[in-house]
Amino acid sequence: MHEYGIASNIADLVLENCHGKRLEKVNLDVGALSGIFDESLKMYLGIILEDKGHKNVELVTRFVPAAFQCVCGKEYTAEKMTDACPFCQGYDRKITAGKDCVVESIEVGDD
């Protein structure tokens, strides 16, 4: 249910950037490690945007897999945080992608 708060922030960000034009589409990158359930996020975002006068906005989420930089020097992507480095079987690594939910872009049109 924490997707509501995130959706509310996204709505603020989107509306600050659409400069009064008609909002047609929101493109979101949802990281594998972001802890966000995309369907729930879209449901809340749709409700909030509609409430603020933007109906039928297309909400698109793109899944961003988790990427790691291992201390062995190799980079790899993984479905789960508990997957070991496929090169050295170790776990000492930094997350390089997939931690955040990012508002990538919006598409606006003239009325």
Binding site: H2, N9, N17, K80, D100, V102, V103, I106
Partner: protein
């Protein structure tokens, strides 16, 4: 005509900005701020009560619950400043909630500020509140599979404390499994075991904190 506008901004940017302001506030006021996260019932408030008895007025606590002020009352009774946030349904604390509470607290004697998050292993883990680090608690009675089932928290927690260690003989809890799973998620995590009932392990925890406050 449709126009595409690039935004490239994190959905948590607003929270992160306030968290940065909180971090700045803690630094300016010489406070070590920690974010305590666990399931409901794993012993967060008991640990804070023990800490309140030890540290008195040099400890302050901001504690979050859906409703009621029981936790703040317990900590106040034990000797430290404690303020309650009642979220009325929200499943995590946000940086803005902390910023609001800080305004009403007299922190002049305080060295250590602990934020006791809502009892929940999921939502609180992704919200930065401006803390120095996160501490995850797992009680033996909850079961040893919690870290691997709820990796988001254990990936981010610098300290993992296994609580209610005195109950180990009565529950199925494999401490070695917890250690191995936690180290897979975060090889740099510090693992501790405690019991607020017997006092076991608390001195190690206090020693660790005092090392950071020195």
């Amino acid at each position: 005509m449709t126009e595409k506008i690039s935004i490239q901004t994190s959905a948590s940017s607003k929270n992160d900005q306030i968290a940065a302001e909180n971090r700045d506030f803690f630094k300016k006021n010489g406070l070590l701020a920690l974010n305590l996260i666990s399931s409901a019932g794993s012993g967060k408030t008991s640990l804070l009560e023990a800490m309140a008895k030890k540290y008195g007025k040099s400890l302050a606590v901001i504690t979050g619950d859906i409703q009621m002020t029981y936790d703040a009352d317990r900590i106040t009774q034990a000797g430290s400043l404690a303020v309650q946030i009642e979220t009325h349904g929200t499943c995590h604390l946000t940086a803005a909630m902390i910023q609001d509470k800080l305004k009403e607290m007299d922190l002049k004697d305080v060295k250590l500020l602990v934020i006791e998050n809502i009892g929940n292993l999921v939502c609180p883990s992704t919200y930065d509140l401006g803390e120095k680090f996160k501490i995850a608690l797992v009680s033996t009675a909850e079961g040893d599979e919690k870290p691997i089932k709820y990796p988001a928290l254990f990936l981010r927690a610098s300290v993992v404390m296994v609580t209610k260690i005195d109950l180990m003989p009565y529950v199925n809890f494999n401490l070695e499994r917890v250690k191995s799973d936690c180290l897979k998620l975060n090889p740099n995590a510090r693992l501790m075991t405690t019991s607020c009932k017997t006092g076991e392990g608390l001195d190690e925890w206090y020693g660790y904190l005092e090392g950071l406050m020195a």
